[in-house]
Amino acid sequence: MINLKDIRETARDMLAKGEARAVIGYRRGSRGMLAEPAFLTKPEEADELVWDPTCFHNLSLYLVHDRKHLAHAGKNSGGAPVAIIAKGCDARSIVVLMQEHYFKREDVYIIGVSCEGTGVVDERKLATHLNGVQASNAAFDGDDFVFTTAEGEKRIPAREVMADRCLECRSPYPKEHNLVFGEDKTGRQLEAPFAALDRFEAQGAGERWENWARHFDRCIRCFACRSVCPMCYCDECVVDSITFPVTTETTADEKASRIRWIERSAARSENITYLMTRAMHLAGRCTDCGECDRACPVNVPIRLLNNKMEKEAREQFGFEPGASIGGPSLVASFLDKDPGEFIR
C-alpha cells in the first residue's frame, strides 16, 4: 500500500532543496473526482498531490512538452532534473524516450509508483457501474476501488472497472526509477496479456473489417490520440497535411515539398491511413500506457492496433518496448531468425 504522505514528502523535499526543477504529478481537478496533471514548483504545493485510481495520465508526455519548451526558448535543461511520478507503463515510456535520445537520464528524476495489485480506472466502465451517480473521491483498497458518492461509499472490485491495459499489464512496476513507492507485483496477472486483442482477433477477417470500418468511420481526426501520446513527439507528424515550419532551418523548399500522404478530410480511407501509420510508427515504441485509447472521444479502440504490433514484436522478434535504455529499436534492427515464411 502506497502512503500518499511519502510521495508528498518526497516532492516537498526535492523542491525545497532544489533537487528538482519541478515535480510533475497528479492532483484533484475541478471536475469531480478525476485527477489531473499537476506541475509543482513550490514546496508548499506538494500537499496538492494525490495518488488514486484516477491517476491514469501518462505524465511523461509533459517531459516532452518541457523539452520542446526548452528547445523553443533556446535553452538546455541545465541544473536540476524534473521529477515525475510514473507508473510502470509511464516509466517504460520514459525509457523509450531516453532510448531515442529525447533527453538524458540525469534530466529526469523518476518517482516510481507501483500499481501493485490493481491499476487505474477506465472512466467508461466506471460510468456504467456508477450509473449516473457522481463520485467525489476514489481510493485504492487492496483488490477494490472505493468511491465516495453522494449516496455513500461505493466499493467495487477493481477488476470490474479497471482499464483493459491494466488488467492485462504484465509489469505494473516502474523498473526504471530513482525512487519507488509500493511493492513490486510484476508477474501478477489479472487477465492474460493481450486478452482483449485475442478476443478481437478471434473473429474472422470479414468481421474484423466490419468492426474497424465502423471505428474508422467514427474518427473525427481530433488527433487527441496523437497529442496525448508521449511517443508522438515529432515536431511535425508525417500525416500532417499542412506545411509546418518546424524550425527556422526549415527551407521554403522543404515546406513546398511536404508530402501529403493523407488528406485532412476525416474520411474513412484517410482515417485508416492515419491510424495505421500511427500504429506502424509506434511499433516497438508504444509502451501500452493506453492513453490514446482513453483520450479518444469516440471510443476508437486504438489500443488494439498498438497491441497487435506489440504482440507481434514480442512473439516474433522477442522484442519488448521500453525494456532498457540502451536496447535496440524494433524496426531498425533484425535477427537472423526473424520470420520469413511469408515471403514467396
Partner: protein
C-alpha cells in the same frame, strides 16, 4: 526552382517495343504531363542518329531533364546520361523508363501493354521532376596505409603495400611481430619450419624504408573515413630502448621475478624483463611493467645496473600519436576457444591435456623442451597420445557452430610430427569427418593415416579425466558403434579458432561489423570478401574467418592490392545518390544510425549526420525514419509518393 522542362524520348526499339506498345500513345500521354515540354518517338533511340537527336532536342527546346522510355537502364542509362551531359545538362537529370524488358517483351496484349508503359513512363517523368542535378562526390586521399596486427597476415600485407611504394604503419599489440605463426613448429602440408619462413619476412619489415613499425602499440580511436582516416595509436612503454639493447641477456640473469611465459603458453616461465622469442622483431628486451618490482632503483633496479648498453630507462612513458592514413588493413588474428568452456574435455584443468598451440611449442626446436616431446606433468615421453579434433567446433548447441577449417590438417601434422619424434608411440585421432580440401592436403592426411600408422577414430569424446597417472579418454567409434576407452599419456585438443580478443576490440574501435561468430564481417560474402563494410577498411587473415597460412597470405595480398588500388588515386569519386538529412525534421532519435548497414550516420548535436564517404545510398535509413527526416537524393520519399500516384492514375 521553377518548373522543369522535361523531354520524353520514346523508343520503338524496332518492333521490340512498338509491336506490343502503342508508342505514339505513350508519347501523346506524356505530353499531357505538366512538366513535359517536348516528346519524340524514334525507331532506335540508342542508334547514332537517335542519340544525336536527343542531344539536339535538349538544346533546341531548352530542356533541363529527360526521360528515355526504352530498355533496361542497365543497358543504356549510361548512354543517355552521357548524351545529356553532352547537351549541357546534368547527367543525373536523365532517367530511363524501362518499357521493353519490363513491358513490351512480356505482355502480348497491346492495350494492356500500352497502359502499363504509360504508367511506367509517367512515374519516371514524375520522378525526374524532382531529380537534382548532381556531381559525383570527390574526396582527396592520404597516400599512407595502416596495417593493424603483425601476424603473417599483417606482415604480408604491409610488405606488399610497402613494395608498391606506399608508406605503411604496422601496429602490433605485442612486443614482437610474428603472431601465431611464430609459435608454430613446422607447417603443413610441406612440414617446413615455420620460423625459417617467417623470420626473413619479419626482418624485411623491420628494414623496409616504407614501413614504420609500432610494436607494443594499440589503436585507440579512429575518425574520418575512406581516404582520410585519423588514427590514434597508443604505444605502451617497454622501458628498454630497442636501438641500444644488444640482446646480451645480462638483465634476465639478475632479474628476481619469475612469471609464466605467455609466448610458451605457460609451458615455461620468464623474468620480468624478457625477450619473447630469440627472433623477436624489434630485437630488443622488454620490461613487463606489471611484473617488475617497481621500476624503481631503490626497490630493485638490478637490471638497470647490469645493462652495459644503458638501454634501460625506468622513466620511459607511453606515447599516443595520431596517424593519418588513407586505408586500413585489419589483421588481428585469432585465439583458441577457451578449454574452460568445455567441461566434457576436462575444462582446461586436467593435467597433460594440451591445446594445439601448446603442442606446437612442445615440438618446436625453439620451444621449452628444445623439441623433445615430454609431457608436462612428469617430463616423460608420452607413448599413447590422443588427438581430439573439433574441440569446440561444429557444435551449435554448446560451442561454436562453424568449422575451424584447419584443425584436420594440423592434427594430422601433429600426429606425424609426434610419430617422427616418438616412433614407437601410438597416436589416436578422434574426428567427425576429415576436411582436407587444399593443394596436397588430402595426400598429407592420407599419409598420416597410412604411412604413420595413426589410428583415426570417427566419433566424439564424451568425457576425459585423470586416472592413475594417465588421462582416460572415453568416446565412441561411430563406424563400429563401439565404445572406446583409451588411457592416454597425453591428450591434444584441436580447439576451435575464435576471433582474438584484439579482433573483438578493434571491431568496436573501428566500428566495423562482426559476423554472428564474432569474426570481422566482410562487405559481401562472395563479391567483396576482403573488404569490411566500411569503405577503406580491409580484412586479412584469421581475424575474418578461420584459415591457414596460405589462405591468410593470399587474402593479405588481396587486401594489399585493394589498398594499393585505392591509394593510387589522387581523389576518390563516389555516387552522389546518398542520404541527406532534413535537419529541421530530425529529432536525433538515432534509429537511422542503428539501421544503416554501412555505419554512415552518426548523431551530432542531436541531429543525424551522414558521412558522404561511407553512405552507399541504400535507403534503409529513410524507410526507418519516422519523420521522413532522411532521404536518399533523387529517390526521395516525395518522389516515390508521386511515382505511386502515377502508377495508379
Amino acid at each position: 526552382m521553377s518548373k522543369k522542362r522535361t523531354g520524353v524520348f520514346v523508343c520503338h526499339c524496332g518492333t521490340n517495343i512498338a509491336a506490343t506498345v502503342d508508342v505514339a500513345k505513350v508519347a501523346r500521354e506524356m505530353s499531357g504531363e505538366d512538366t513535359v515540354a517536348f516528346t519524340q518517338e524514334y525507331v532506335y533511340m540508342c542508334s547514332e542518329p537517335g542519340q544525336e537527336s536527343v542531344v539536339q532536342s535538349i538544346k533546341d527546346n531548352k530542356l533541363d531533364s529527360i526521360v528515355v522510355t526504352c530498355c533496361s537502364p542497365n543497358l543504356h542509362e549510361k548512354t543517355f546520361r552521357d548524351n545529356a551531359q553532352r547537351a549541357g545538362i546534368n547527367n543525373f537529370t536523365c532517367e530511363i523508363a524501362n518499357i521493353r524488358e519490363q513491358c513490351s517483351w512480356v505482355h502480348a496484349d497491346k492495350a494492356k501493354g500500352t497502359e502499363k508503359a504509360i504508367k511506367i513512363s509517367r512515374s519516371v517523368v514524375r520522378r525526374v521532376n524532382r531529380n537534382l542535378p548532381m556531381d559525383a562526390v570527390k574526396v582527396a586521399v592520404t597516400r599512407r596505409a595502416m596495417v593493424i596486427g603483425g601476424g603473417i597476415a599483417g606482415i604480408q600485407a604491409a610488405l606488399d603495400i610497402a613494395n608498391a611504394g606506399i608508406e605503411v604503419i604496422l601496429v602490433e599489440k605485442q612486443a614482437t611481430i610474428g603472431g601465431r605463426m611464430l609459435q608454430l613448429s613446422e607447417t603443413f602440408p610441406t612440414l617446413d619450419c615455420s620460423q625459417c619462413v617467417l623470420s626473413p619476412k619479419m626482418v624485411e619489415v623491420n628494414r623496409h624504408p616504407n614501413i614504420r613499425l609500432m610494436t607494443y602499440s594499440e589503436v585507440k580511436e579512429v575518425a574520418g573515413s575512406v581516404g582520410n582516416f585519423r588514427v590514434k595509436v597508443h604505444k605502451r612503454s617497454s622501458f628498454v630502448d630497442p636501438d641500444k639493447c644488444k640482446i646480451c641477456d645480462h638483465c634476465t640473469e639478475v632479474c628476481p621475478v619469475v612469471v609464466p611465459n605467455e609466448y610458451e603458453l605457460g609451458l615455461t616461465s620468464r623474468r620480468a624483463i624478457y625477450i619473447p622469442y630469440a627472433q623477436a622483431i624489434p630485437a630488443s628486451f622488454t620490461l613487463d611493467e606489471d611484473a617488475c618490482l617497481g621500476l624503481n632503483p631503490i626497490r630493485c633496479g638490478k637490471c638497470k645496473d647490469v645493462c652495459e648498453a644503458g638501454a634501460i630507462d625506468y622513466d620511459m612513458r607511453p606515447v599516443t600519436t595520431t596517424e593519418e592514413v588513407g586505408a586500413i588493413v585489419v589483421a588481428t588474428g585469432f585465439d583458441l576457444y577457451g578449454p574452460e568452456n568445455m567441461p566434457e574435455l576436462g575444462g582446461g584443468r586436467v593435467e597433460d591435456v594440451l591445446d594445439g598451440l601448446q603442442f606446437e611449442r612442445l615440438i618446436s626446436a625453439s620451444g621449452a623442451t628444445k623439441g623433445h616431446i615430454l609431457r608436462p606433468s612428469d617430463h616423460k615421453e608420452p607413448k599413447d597420445v590422443v588427438f581430439i579434433q573439433c574441440a569446440g567446433s561444429r557444435d551449435p548447441a554448446k560451442h561454436c557452430a562453424y568449422c575451424s577449417k584447419i584443425c584436420c590438417m594440423y592434427t594430422a601434422k601433429h600426429a606425424r610430427l609426434y610419430k617422427k619424434h616418438v616412433p614407437d608411440g601410438r597416436a589416436y585421432v578422434f574426428y567427425i569427418d576429415i576436411r582436407s580440401g587444399g593443394k596436397g592436403y588430402e595426400e598429407f592426411v592420407q599419409r598420416t593415416m597410412e604411412d604413420d600408422d595413426t589410428l583415426y577414430l570417427r566419433g566424439r569424446v564424451s568425457k576425459l579425466y585423470r586416472k592413475g597417472g594417465k588421462v582416460r579418454v572415453m568416446g565412441t567409434d561411430t563406424l563400429t558403434g563401439q565404445n572406446v576407452e583409451i588411457d592416454a599419456d597425453m591428450v591434444v585438443l584441436a580447439l576451435a579458432m575464435t576471433p582474438s580478443k584484439g579482433t573483438m576490440e578493434i571491431a568496436k574501435t573501428l566500428k566495423i561489423g562482426r559476423d554472428k561468430d564474432g569474426f570481422l564481417a566482410e562487405a559481401h560474402p562472395k563479391l567483396r570478401p576482403v573488404e569490411s563494410v566500411t569503405g577503406g577498411i580491409y580484412l586479412a587473415g584469421a581475424a575474418q574467418a578461420p584459415k591457414d597460412i596460405p589462405e591468410t597470405v593470399a587474402q593479405a595480398g588481396a587486401a594489399a592490392a585493394k589498398v594499393i588500388a585505392l591509394l593510387s588515386q589522387a581523389t576518390l569519386s563516389r555516387s552522389p545518390l546518398i542520404a541527406k538529412v532534413r535537419r529541421s525534421h530530425c529529432t536525433g532519435c538515432g534509429m537511422c544510425v542503428e539501421a544503416c548497414p554501412f555505419i554512415a550516420i552518426r548523431l551530432e548535436g542531436g541531429k543525424a549526420v551522414v558521412n558522404e564517404a561511407l553512405c552507399e545510398g541504400c535507403g534503409s535509413c529513410s524507410a526507418t525514419c519516422l519523420r521522413a527526416a532522411i532521404d536518399v537524393k533523387n529517390v526521395t520519399q516525395m518522389q516515390i509518393h508521386e511515382m505511386i500516384e502515377a502508377c495508379l492514375a
